[in-house]
């Protein structure tokens, strides 16, 4: 695995050196970002979420295609009050309520709980080294459970039936060690919990943003990257695809302000985190679409803009595919998402990978006006 990773990194590095950065927009077609679009989206993130800043990084690692003072984005000292496992256990214990969209007509149907069975399915994901960026379908090589081949004509059917998943008995979560929850010691009454510096870099090879995690433990000391895995949704951390029963749509409790002719995007990520459900609301606050998107792998690598240390990173090999999927859903509903909102959508689905790290992204926003 080590050697494979090294070879892959070498290959990726070489490709990045010999190919120029993307300058033409392919956001709508491929879900990728050009360099100017990354800057645009980053500027928008910094403006809307002031805890984020641009940073220059180490001068020796400066990427010439990015402005010197806008090499990557970072938000620091982000609390992570508990381990991801605890979120999942809590959710299981509560008994997940299944709420499904009723054929796009605005009805919500609650069905059954989650504890009864946990069918898993292992499925091959396109591995990093088989992805071929040169082919147009390379970046779209998404697992069949995204939508199969019929996404164009029938979005509502996109949700796979639970019964189609077989229980492999390979349930990772069940074997997890007990989790830790931040405690307040009595002496100084200060909450002792982990914190994270979350950074977003531009990945030239995949032409997408990429998230990096630098953790600190309860004693404010650097966290070993391996321990970061405790804050990553277990399916992602294990780098295998465990499809959890298809469930987990909980109606949001907060009120959604809907502006005429605008659609809102919303995501929920409970339990395993590999299920991201996008809810789109029309102006009558009816849900018109649900989707789920699966799996990101998490690796430990050198940060592209910092000299020292290995950092955990959500690997970007799926990012474009996921973004493309979201874009398709929006476009099919007559909404053309604006590229400067890219990072908001992006951070929403990243939140499904790191559900307990409470970084800031606005909870609801306008994606763009309807194209009609």
């Amino acid at each position: 695995m080590q050697v494979k990773q090294k070879v892959y990194e070498l290959y990726k590095g070489t490709v990045e050196r010999v190919t120029g950065p993307r300058t033409v927009s392919a956001f709508l077609e491929k879900g990728v970002l050009s360099v100017p679009e990354f800057i645009l989206a980053g500027d928008n993130l910094v403006a809307k979420c002031p805890t984020w800043s641009w940073e220059a990084g180490d001068p020796s690692k400066r990427k010439p295609y990015l402005p010197a003072d806008k090499q990557f984005l970072v938000t620091r000292n982000v609390p992570c009050l508990r381990r991801a496992t605890s979120l999942e256990e809590e959710y299981d214990a509560a008994g997940a309520e299944v709420v499904l969209d009723d054929d796009g007509e605005g009805g919500w149907v609650a069905t059954h709980g989650v504890q009864a069975s946990k069918p898993d399915e292992e499925e091959d994901i396109p591995s990093m080294d088989t992805l071929d960026i040169g082919k147009s379908d390379g970046i779209k090589s998404i697992p069949t459970y995204f939508s199969g081949g019929k996404k164009e004509e029938d979005e509502e059917e996109d949700i796979p039936d639970m019964d189609t998943y077989e229980d492999t008995g390979d349930n990772m979560v069940a074997t997890e060690p007990p989790y830790f929850v931040a405690e307040e010691p009595e002496d100084d009454n200060i909450l002792r919990t982990r914190t994270y510096d979350v950074s977003i870099t531009y990945d030239k090879y995949y032409q997408t943003p990429r998230v990096w995690l630098t953790g600190y433990d309860e004693l404010r000391m650097p966290l070993k990257p391996e321990l970061v895995f405790e804050d990553i949704s277990q399916d992602h951390a294990r780098k295998t695809v465990n499809i959890f029963p298809f469930i987990l749509l909980i109606l949001l409790t907060y009120q959604m302000e809907c502006v005429d002719n605008f659609y809102h995007i919303n995501s929920q990520y409970f339990n395993t985190g590999n299920v991201l459900i996008i809810e789109l609301y029309d102006q009558n606050k009816r849900t018109i679409q649900c989707h789920r998107l699966v799996d990101h792998r998490v690796t430990i690598e050198d940060h592209p803009h910092l000299l020292a240390g290995k950092h955990a990173s959500v690997h970007p090999c799926k990012h474009a595919a996921v973004m493309k999927k979201i874009v398709d859903v929006l476009v099919s509903r007559g909404v053309e998402p604006e590229v400067d909102k890219y990072l908001f959508i992006f951070l929403k689905f990243i939140a499904s990978v790191i559900p307990t790290i409470e970084y800031d992204y606005t909870m609801d926003f306008d994606l763009g006006s309807t194209s009609s």
């Binding site: 979420c49 002031p50 620091r76 000292n77 009595e186 600190y216 910092l306 020292a308 240390g309």
Partner: protein, 316 residues
């Protein structure tokens, strides 16, 4: 316990100490700096730390040392990165590290703050009130760094009395704070005015709120930055009673519920005009006020992951 002491005024002012988050990159940069530049030189070097207001509940914000902290900041900073000047002494061996007179170096730093207050430098650059100091021993052979950080706070001769403290939301409306905060810069400035414009408001203390970016998260006490702020107001401007405003944020926006407005009084200091006066100071991280520094434990950083040899081992 959080609110146990909240009842009952007046009471002695207590503050929440600030904590330092030093990333691995900083220590690795120090390691390289020692190899390439410092050698066995153990004189103090200037470094830069970064201060922010509290942004996330329920945690305080931290003081950050980063890989770029050994070089001067390349710009004036922003809301998330208020550069603060500090010093670092890197000793050459464990014995030198352990034998450093920690009380003495703390007092020396406090003296610098006092000097900046008296000379008026703080009027122009309030960030000088937040000076910090790092002592370290970089054990290059074993890929380890031992260190301690201090945030020197002047100890006034007389105690500071807290007369009131309440959430800002009970005093200010949201509109007022938005207005106010547009004037709050870097780490500390007066309400609606920069600190240096204070003279134009003189004689009108009661209508002034002395505001500062507060890293703290506790409802019963302000963040530690207020101590040197009060020392400044007392020594430089001879004020004996102020209303202060601990400005806190939630996700980068004003957090009225958790921002605090309070009032404190402090008798005028004495002896401080003497140029030879060395003020008492507290501020070693992890050391309770009033306790000695004898038992102070160094923090330990493992840089083994930077070691090319260990990375080779991993590969095999």
């Amino acid at each position: 316990m959080a609110d146990a002491g909240a009842a009952g005024f007046p009471r002695e002012l207590q503050v929440q100490a600030i904590e330092c988050l030093a990333d691995v990159g900083f220590w690795d940069a120090l390691r390289r700096h020692k190899l390439d530049v410092l050698g066995t030189d153990d004189s103090p070097i200037p470094i830069t730390g970064y201060y922010t207001p509290r942004q996330f509940r329920p945690l305080p914000s931290f003081f950050n040392l980063r890989s770029g902290s050994l070089v001067p900041p390349h710009n004036a900073g922003d809301r998330n990165n208020c550069p603060i000047a500090g010093s670092l002494v890197n000793t050459n061996n464990m014995r030198g590290f352990q034998n450093l007179d920690r009380d003495q170096v703390l007092k020396a730093e406090a003296k610098k703050i006092l000097h900046d207050i008296m000379s008026g430098r703080v009027d122009e650059d309030p960030a000088l009130l937040l000076r910090f100091f790092v002592i370290s021993f970089a054990d290059l052979k074993n890929w380890k760094v031992y260190y301690n950080v201090a945030f020197p706070s002047l100890v006034l001769n007389s105690r500071i009395t807290l007369l009131s403290l309440q959430p800002a939301s009970r005093v200010l409306t949201k509109e007022e704070v938005m207005f106010l905060c547009t004037y709050i810069t870097s780490d500390s400035s007066a309400s609606v005015r920069q600190l240096k414009d204070w003279k134009t408001c003189q004689g009108n203390y009661q209508s002034l709120l002395f505001g500062f970016y507060d890293h703290g998260c506790r409802s019963d006490r302000p963040g530690g930055a207020i101590i040197n702020y009060i020392a400044f107001l007392s020594i430089r401007w001879k004020i004996e009673k102020v209303r202060f405003f601990c400005y806190r944020e939630f996700k980068g926006k004003p957090d009225l519920e958790q921002s605090l407005i309070g009032e404190a009084s402090f008798p005028p200091p004495y002896d401080w005009d003497d140029p030879e006066h060395v003020p008492d100071a507290i501020g070693w991280e992890g050391v309770e006020p009033g306790k000695g520094t004898e038992e102070m434990k160094p923090k330990e950083i493992d840089l083994q992951s930077m070691n090319p040899a260990s990375q080779d081992e991993e590969k095999q």
